[in-house]
Symmetry: C2
Subunit: 321 residues, 2 copies
Amino acid sequence: MPKLQVVLGIDIGGTNTKFGYVDREGRCLAGTSIETDAHLPAEQFFDQLQKNAKLLLESVEEECELSGIGIGAPNANFYKGTIENPPNLDWDYVDVKAAMGKYYGVPVAITNDANAAALGEMLFGAARGMKDFIVITLGTGLGSGIVANGELIYGADGFAGEIGHTIVDPNGRRCGCGKLGCLEAYVSATGICRTVLELSCHSTTPSELRYYSAAELTSEMIYQSALRGDPLAQEAFDFTGRVLGVKLADSVAHLSPEAIIFFGGLAAAGEMLFKPTQQSLEEHLFPIFRNKVKLLPSRLADNPAVLGAGALIWNVLEKKN
Amino acid sequence: MPKLQVVLGIDIGGTNTKFGYVDREGRCLAGTSIETDAHLPAEQFFDQLQKNAKLLLESVEEECELSGIGIGAPNANFYKGTIENPPNLDWDYVDVKAAMGKYYGVPVAITNDANAAALGEMLFGAARGMKDFIVITLGTGLGSGIVANGELIYGADGFAGEIGHTIVDPNGRRCGCGKLGCLEAYVSATGICRTVLELSCHSTTPSELRYYSAAELTSEMIYQSALRGDPLAQEAFDFTGRVLGVKLADSVAHLSPEAIIFFGGLAAAGEMLFKPTQQSLEEHLFPIFRNKVKLLPSRLADNPAVLGAGALIWNVLEKKN
């Protein structure tokens, strides 16, 4: 019997690194995680990673053959195979392809987590069969992956798809990137906390959230408050959706996607966020694009980051054939 | 001797329709124009067009063989081969591929003028050898054509690339499309006239432009005033460039292009417009994209709209082979 072809999908995060073996149908046969100890030199991290990946492969019952390795990581450059000045990691510049090449003789590809998520949706999730779509990842920040003509857009330098750093207001909130008014400073887990503070300042709406400090507030608390009917919490979600809708209208004007797919923690807020987003999007769309673009939740239920990283390398392998 | 392979490039404008024969090297062997009499039924227009195109072909000295027909037109849909509700034309819906198919047995392709311009730059102009770039056409309005991974982006519905209708300010100027605050209402020949009116209202800067009515003002007058050192005219160009720079930073965040190429009437203002644009662009770029993106003038000097339409069909023909 022929061996089952699998790829190793790896998602390197600031705290943990998840990895697992993914077949062409999008099944994650086995998955686990290790701590991303970014204080250690990168070589030690990759050595530990491959040892654990080897153990994990032995735990899989089916006989597998490794076809490639896909990696999602912050500030990853697809063209160069590197990670460059990643936020939340101490590594300056890591040649990841070379680091993995010391242990493996199979193709390795790397990109950022939002691009990996987009390929995950294309191969295994909500974007199956689509050639033009955008994935928005809503977590601590706002990431994005753009597919047009059936291909992920990496741009001239490998870093395309930073919709989180488009500008809501050139004189607006300071973003973590140093600029003023980036979308991510409004629409993200941290952005909605800032919005609650702004609303607490500008309005007189009563709210249970007024009893928490800026340091204490979390997007989950705001979500739970909104569910309980807290008007200020609900206003914060409305505002977040309205801002997101305006900027997504700009994305549609560029790309005219079939769908925009939402992925990640804050996306779990569901209708609370998507209803005002959809309304604002339609209102701000160029007429020719109205009532065409679908807003969809991710359909990568199980281990989505690992599936995305796996999809990245499956996509590369298929283009080679 | 083998015949020279040529295509017929046609640019359908609100007033005139330009057309000519273009070889694979981007030479326009012969070109002319007819009036776009859009009060006539579309069938009559296309009949007149093909008669004139036939006469023009006879005027070419070299022996030519027609390989295809490319057409740039407002609201043209590449996928369907149609023109739909074009502004400035009385036709509701024209199946252009079918209309041309009555006279010709060669492949026909149609897209809007800005997309045609982008393909013109890629095959014959400033974007030769580039895989990721944006063309901005600055005329009465602001059009755009986007190329990523070496392919023009048409999007899910064939209408992608409407950067002129991204939003500068959701409560801003009313645009011709009905929305508020579109880029085109600020950055275009008509946009800069509106800016002069706004500056005349908000500032006390003296200016020769204060002696002209809203109906009299033209972008050319503003340009000539700015050249003569008129401070309000210069401020209008600065403002226009600053607004354009902010929005192009958003385009770069999506696409990370190698270059942004400027095409059309207002682009002739040169440094007067590009200096403030470049400065504002760099200021508003996500740090990773700074000092990478080239701003370039079009290099389709001779009959650019016809070369663009010709490039459209050359591009289609080459993909077929």
